[in-house]
């Protein structure tokens, strides 16, 4: 059986297993086992990919398979992976596995919860392995829609509002996206009157006319950009993340937002390099704003999840910024940043969820001195914070440096000034991270009730340790991952550089 | 002679139609409708479509009108005058109807129909019956059956809908 098909099949089977489970124990065990298998498969995929490369396979995409799906429109279900998608699949597998672990104590309608969660995951995995714009879009929708239920039912705070807002904004984005995809499709005939196609690889071999690119590049970039929290379409993020249940925040910020970045790189930039080159500056300005603005926005927030949501805006802005630089180093940085931010923010949201369960508040004004009572979570939070502000030895640093160095390779003043502006975010990030750490963990204990709370239990520890391990692993030895990704960037960068 | 009768019938159709839709007493409207149907049956007779004319008389005049009158009896005060439509509503409707009629008549008159052929119509009852139940070319057995199913279905439907809700 094909490994990529299994990646979709296992979640589907897991959903089936959950739906026939009776007790809560069975439900969460089947979810955990299913996602555990998924994690193993993702790991296997990484090694299989490396082995294939070692055997001298130099194709852009590996494990390519294709099935005819809807013949008259030439829609295929074609799948395949390269280094970028493999690494993002691995990220997804880690995040969903830890997400299931953090949801161990979901008691309310747990069957439905896990089913929605895993349906969502299926969408994400499908998205990353799709080579066909149509199936990519299909999986995109599959990933976005369960979000509504997950936030609306199991969320907290103004959950209906948040769920509605998030879903509507993402649906709006996908409308724009669909338009862009169709635009690509109708212009994808190799010769006038030839067969039109949704296949990314086939389209990438063509030169789409410039006037077509000018129309559809912004559509696609904005469509994916909304998911990647592009200013000014980011406002679903603070509300959505703060209302979502822990595992959903983790998945959403950790993985779904990466689909935006991935889409921008793989579809918008790769297929329409001309417009990317020509209109990139608009989006560079927007993403630079995202980066700095998100960071400034985070400084004064009071809710832990809001802080993290704004921080995500800033970090994901950096991803898009790096992608727009159309430089190999920074594109590499962008992918690294996606992975790094995925892990980091998953850790953050997991920790916030755990802390919230204990303190029943997320308002940092009422917290303080938690390091004393929950040292494990405290230290983990601090590590997540340090990773977020780009401490060497943790993953954030590697990604950011790749982005900055790459972005600075452009010799014109505009790109350099944008880079310097974006660089300044490392200081602002430090400010808000330290503010949170200081008010949340350090200082005297503000509330006597906090003296009674207990430190993490086994599944929480497992979550945190897996994520920290991944973060530190990337941070300490980045070279293999960087090499892993950078080879796959070659075709994209080549296409972009041919335009110049 | 034929023409005179024809014109009388036509004017009857038009007058009774107008009266049907304007009369303010509902029972009278039903009766005007009956007259209108009778006039059109007369028209069919004149065109030598005896079977059709007969069906028109029995089904329409005999069946439908009776049904309508029953329902009037069941639901309305017969003596009451109907509320007249508002000026705005009726004028707008009149404009729409008139416009539609003008458009249609205009296109009818501007269209040159193919030459009238002189074939003879064999609209004897026997021929109609044979063709209606024939499954060969120009046979209408399938629509006939479909209609019969439709009739059955509407019968069942009418009963179900009009049945008193037993739960209440």
């Amino acid at each position: 059986m094909d490994i990529l098909i299994l990646l979709i099949l296992v979640p589907v089977l897991t959903v089936l297993a959950i739906s026939i489970s009776r007790t809560k124990e069975q439900i969460r065990m089947s979810a955990a086992v299913g996602m555990g298998i998924q994690l193993v498969q993702a790991t296997y995929l990484v090694f299989a990919y490396l082995a294939e490369r070692k055997n001298g396979n130099v194709d852009d995409m590996l494990f390519v398979r294709s099935w005819e799906w809807f013949k008259s429109f030439n829609i295929q279900f074609s799948i395949g992976v390269d280094g970028i998608s493999v690494s993002l699949i691995a990220l997804t597998a880690i995040v969903i596995f830890t997400g299931v672990l953090t949801s161990w104590k979901v008691d309310n309608l747990s069957k439905e919860f896990f089913i929605s969660l895993i349906v969502l995951t299926t969408g994400v995995f499908g998205f990353f392995i799709s080579l066909d714009l149509f199936s990519m879009f299909l999986f995109f929708e599959l990933a976005v829609i369960p979000m509504y239920l997950l936030i609306g039912i199991w969320g907290s705070g103004p959950k209906e509002y948040a769920a509605m807002k998030l879903t509507l904004m993402l649906m709006g984005a996908s409308a724009v996206l669909l338009l862009g995809i169709l635009g690509l499709y109708v212009n994808s005939a190799a010769a006038p009157g030839g067969l039109m196609t949704f296949n990314i690889i086939d389209i990438s071999r063509l030169n789409i006319p410039m006037e077509v690119q000018r129309i559809f590049f912004p559509l696609l970039f904005v469509g994916f950009g909304v998911l990647g929290a592009l200013f000014p379409f980011h406002t679903w993020s603070p509300d959505g993340h703060s209302s979502a249940p822990t595992a959903v925040s983790m998945l959403h910020a950790g993985v779904l937002m990466k689909m935006g970045g991935y889409g921008c790189l793989r579809v918008a930039m790769y297929l329409m390099p001309g417009a990317a080159n020509e209109m990139g500056w608009i989006f560079i300005v927007l993403t630079s704003i995202s980066v700095v603005y998100g960071a400034f926005g985070a400084i004064v927030q009071k809710d832990l999840k809001y802080i993290n949501a704004y921080s995500s805006v800033s970090h994901c802005g950096l991803v898009l910024f790096a992608i727009l630089m159309s430089d190999k180093i920074s594109a590499n940085g962008a992918v690294l940043q996606m992975i790094s931010h995925g892990l980091m923010t998953a850790l953050f949201f997991a920790l916030i969820g755990m802390i919230y369960e204990r303190t029943h508040t997320r308002d940092i004004r009422f917290m303080g001195g938690l390091m004393k009572v929950i040292p494990f979570l405290g230290v983990a939070y601090m590590i997540a914070g340090l990773a977020s502000l780009g401490l060497p030895g943790l993953s954030g640093f590697v990604a950011e440096m790749n982005v900055f160095v790459g972005a600075f390779q452009h010799s014109d003043t505009f790109h350099r000034i944008a880079t310097i502006v974006v660089c300044s975010s490392i200081v602002i990030t430090a400010v808000y991270i330290l503010r949170v750490v200081a008010t949340l963990l350090l200082g005297p204990i503000k509330n006597n009730d906090f003296n009674l709370i207990k430190d993490a239990v086994w599944f929480e520890r497992a979550t945190v340790i897996i994520l920290i391990f991944a973060i530190a692993g990337i941070g300490m030895a980045p070279l293999w991952l960087s090499d892993f990704i950078s080879r796959s960037l070659d075709p994209i960068i080549l296409k972009l550089s041919m335009i110049k | 002679m034929e023409q005179i009768i024809f014109y009388i019938l036509v004017s009857g159709i038009l007058i009774f139609s107008v009266l049907t839709v304007t009369s303010r007493r509902i029972l009278r409207a039903a009766v005007f409708l009956l007259f209108m149907l009778l006039c059109s049956a007369g028209l069919f007779f004149m065109l030598d479509f005896y079977f059709l004319a007969a069906v028109q008389l029995t089904v329409y005049a005999g069946g439908i009108i009776v049904l309508i009158i029953f329902s009037i009896m069941l639901t309305s005060q017969v003596n009451e005058k109907l509320e007249a439509a508002g000026v705005k509503k009726s004028s707008f409707s009149l404009i729409a109807a008139a416009a539609g009629a003008v458009v249609c008549i205009y296109s009818i008159l501007n269209y040159s129909f193919p030459a009238v052929s002189n074939g003879e119509t064999d609209s004897s009852m026997k021929n109609i019956g044979m063709q209606l139940l024939s499954y060969k070319d120009n046979g209408y057995v399938l629509p006939f059956e479909v209609i019969s199913i439709l009739l059955l279905a509407s019968m069942v439907g009418a009963i179900i809908i009009a049945k008193r809700d037993s739960a209440k």
């Binding site: 200013f231 603005y293 400084i299 030895g393 660089c423 430090a430 030895a477 | -």
Partner: protein
């Protein structure tokens, strides 16, 4: 040439020690962590000494020039073929010297902490972070490329943050650690941009290419101009911004006095001897680039150093918290080192400033660590930082008293203590290059002597205070490091530094310039005597003088209100002026736009829904008219 590969052990043992102590944390007896940490640093020290000995005794010497040796270098992250971050080890005179400094001071501080931190709840944590710090600091000095330096630079910053915030339940410590991190982080932004520009012009991160005096990097610098200065100069000034942050140069010095909230041994290690001189070290590391490619940047550094030094010395005269006095003294001394670098040239005897700067760095590390440890000892005994609450301690704490005196004499530059030699070289270098800077450094010499002895007399002489529980001498684990460092302060002045550590690696002869040394010593003595007159006996004289200075005194005592200005900038401008409006803008404008779109949609749908009135005849009417319109349209098309 000897193989120095064994040095790889040093960072690894420290890293392992950090991770093990950190993970094992509270599970074992705390003293075990202390011993483990101390042991790893001890191994480090031994290896450093062996390295230094073999390097300076000829292993590093080729044709009378000390070579750069790279015993180990491995690829860590690759950007392009040329832009590669390596993790490696670079040995040259300054890095070997720094190895010795760091390992010595760190070992002393570890031993000292065994006693000083006894009973502290965060004992294991403390030692784990100390290991992390030592690891990062050693990594910093032995870096082979500027990016590796940046990596360890950040790690040093974070370990400093963690250690300053050691007493994390104390709000002031938390605030101080935050401030230290943010200020240095801000400076590092400059550093990072500097690296980006530098790597962009030269196409490399590697020190051996960057600082090769005949290499391509130096030649490339001055070609492109930007705002009156060459791009290289800008890059180097930005790099210096990072140095200024770490080394607490004006105006980025504000974090260092606050950093004294950390445990005193930490102040000795990080904020006196090692981390704060990283800036000086980095300038020295890039010195060929500065001297040959961007002399303007070097001048700038010299003046910044001089100004900071004078500025800090003046403030030091007024502070009453003993650790703060020492902190300002540190700033002042580092300024002096920067000044020395600023007046130096590249090559041979012209590199006197460079050599004297390194020499002073070395000596300063010893005596300043000693001063801090003594101060720690005093604080340990008195449980207070305030100078006013002390006095007459010489009777209770003889060891501390003597060692403190040695350190004071060393920093004041009285022969034959170490400070005299290095300060003399600095003065000579300044005299030869720039008379203004020479005068400034003379004044600083006098001020230094004054405030150090003000401190000394106030603590150990002056009035005899009544102490609640009578102060006592520290335990031997604390006393031994004091004595060792005092001994070091006595003898390190006699190390022939000019033969060992020079800008171009080739040694030269120096001798004491009595024409400058004598006036300098006289000025220092004058400072000491003034302090003695004012503070040896309890008298009202200091109060009268301060009263007569009035608002000027207040201005100095408040550190020229720099902190308040920063507070204004951060609280008022960044928090209330930028962040709060941004957050407001986001919620009210951006978000409301999105909500507004939703509201408009909703509004339209409310309007549209009245079409769906349930009125059958309306529907029929619309249908009929629609049909007519369609027919008309079709007719129109038909007839056309």
């Amino acid at each position: 040439m000897e193989n120095f590969g064994y040095i790889v052990i040093v960072p690894f043992i420290l890293l392992i020690s950090f991770i093990l102590i950190g993970l094992a944390g509270g599970r074992f007896k705390p003293s075990l962590s202390g011993i483990a940490g101390t042991f790893s640093v001890f191994v480090t020290t031994v290896i450093s000494y062996i390295t230094a000995f073999s390097y300076f005794s000829g292993a590093g010497l080729v044709n009378g020039v000390y070579q750069k040796i790279i015993p180990y270098n491995t690829e860590w992250l690759r950007f392009t073929d040329k832009l590669v971050i390596n993790m490696g080890i670079l040995l040259d005179p300054i890095s070997v010297m720094m190895l010795v400094v760091i390992s010595t001071v760190s070992l002393m501080v570890h031993i000292y902490s065994l006693g000083y931190m006894k009973g502290d709840s965060g004992y294991s944590r403390y030692f784990s972070f100390l290991s992390l710090f030592t690891f990062s600091m050693i990594g910093l000095v032995i870096s082979t490329n500027i990016f590796e330096t940046y990596i360890f630079w950040e790690l040093v910053g974070v370990s400093s943050y963690l250690l300053i915030g050691h007493y994390y339940q104390k709000p002031s410590a938390v605030a101080a650690s935050k401030k230290a991190f943010v200020v240095t982080r801000f400076a590092d932004l400059g550093f990072l941009i500097g690296i980006l520009i530098l790597s962009n012009i030269t196409g490399t991160f590697d020190y051996s290419i960057l600082t090769d005096p005949n290499g391509p990097a130096i030649a490339q610098g001055s070609t492109i101009a930007f705002m009156g200065l060459s791009v290289m100069t800008w890059a180097l000034i930005l790099v210096f911004m990072g140095c200024a942050g770490k080394s607490a140069m004006f105006p980025l010095h504000i974090w260092l006095p606050d950093a004294m909230e950390g445990p005193t041994p930490v102040s000795a290690l990080i904020h006196a001897a090692t981390m704060v001189v990283a800036g000086v070290y980095l300038v020295a590391r890039l010195f060929p680039l500065y001297a040959l490619s961007a002399p303007a940047a070097l001048h700038f550094i010299g003046y910044v150093g001089a100004f900071t030094s004078l500025f800090a010395a003046i403030i030091a005269c007024t502070q009453t918290d003993i650790k703060r006095v020492l902190a300002f003294s540190t700033i002042s001394q580092i300024g002096l080192m920067m000044l020395a670098l600023g007046v130096s040239d590249y090559g041979g005897e012209k590199g006197l400033g460079y050599m004297s700067s390194m020499f002073h760095l070395f000596n300063h590390a010893m005596f300043k660590a000693l001063l801090f440890l003594c101060a720690g000892s005093v604080i340990h005994a008195v449980h207070s930082n305030e100078m006013n609450g002390m006095g007459g301690l010489r009777k209770f704490m003889p060891v501390t008293h003597i060692t403190f005196l040695v350190a004071c004499l060393a920093i004041a530059g009285i022969p034959p203590f170490s400070g005299f030699f290095s300060k003399d070289e600095i003065l000579v270098a300044a005299f030869e290059k720039d008379f203004v800077l020479f005068i400034v450094s003379m004044i600083i010499a006098g001020l230094t002597a004054f405030y150090m002895f003000r401190l000394y007399f106030s603590i150990f002489w002056n009035k005899n205070n009544e102490y609640k529980d009578s102060p006592h001498e520290s335990p031997s684990s604390m006393a031994v490091p004091l004595m060792f460092l005092a001994f070091a302060s006595l003898i390190t002045g006699f190390i022939p530094f000019s033969k060992l550590v020079t800008a171009d690696g080739a040694g030269f002869e120096t001798h004491i310039h009595w024409g400058i040394a004598v006036p300098a010593v006289v000025i220092a003595l004058a400072g000491i005597l003034t302090a003695m007159a004012l503070y040896k006996k309890e008298s009202g004289l200091p109060q009268r003088i301060t009263a007569s200075l009035g608002s000027l005194y207040r201005l100095i005592y408040k550190k020229f209100y720099i902190d308040e200005i920063y507070l204004f900038i951060t609280k008022k401008i960044i928090f209330n002026g930028i962040s709060a409006p941004v957050a407001w803008f986001d919620r009210k404008v951006v978000d409301n736009t999105m909500n507004g779109i939703a509201a408009v949609t909703n509004f339209i749908s409310v309007k549209i829904k009245s079409f769906q009135s349930g009125q059958l005849q309306q529907y029929a009417y619309v249908m009929v008219s629609g049909m007519i319109i369609i027919i008309l349209f079709a007719l129109y098309l038909w007839n056309k």
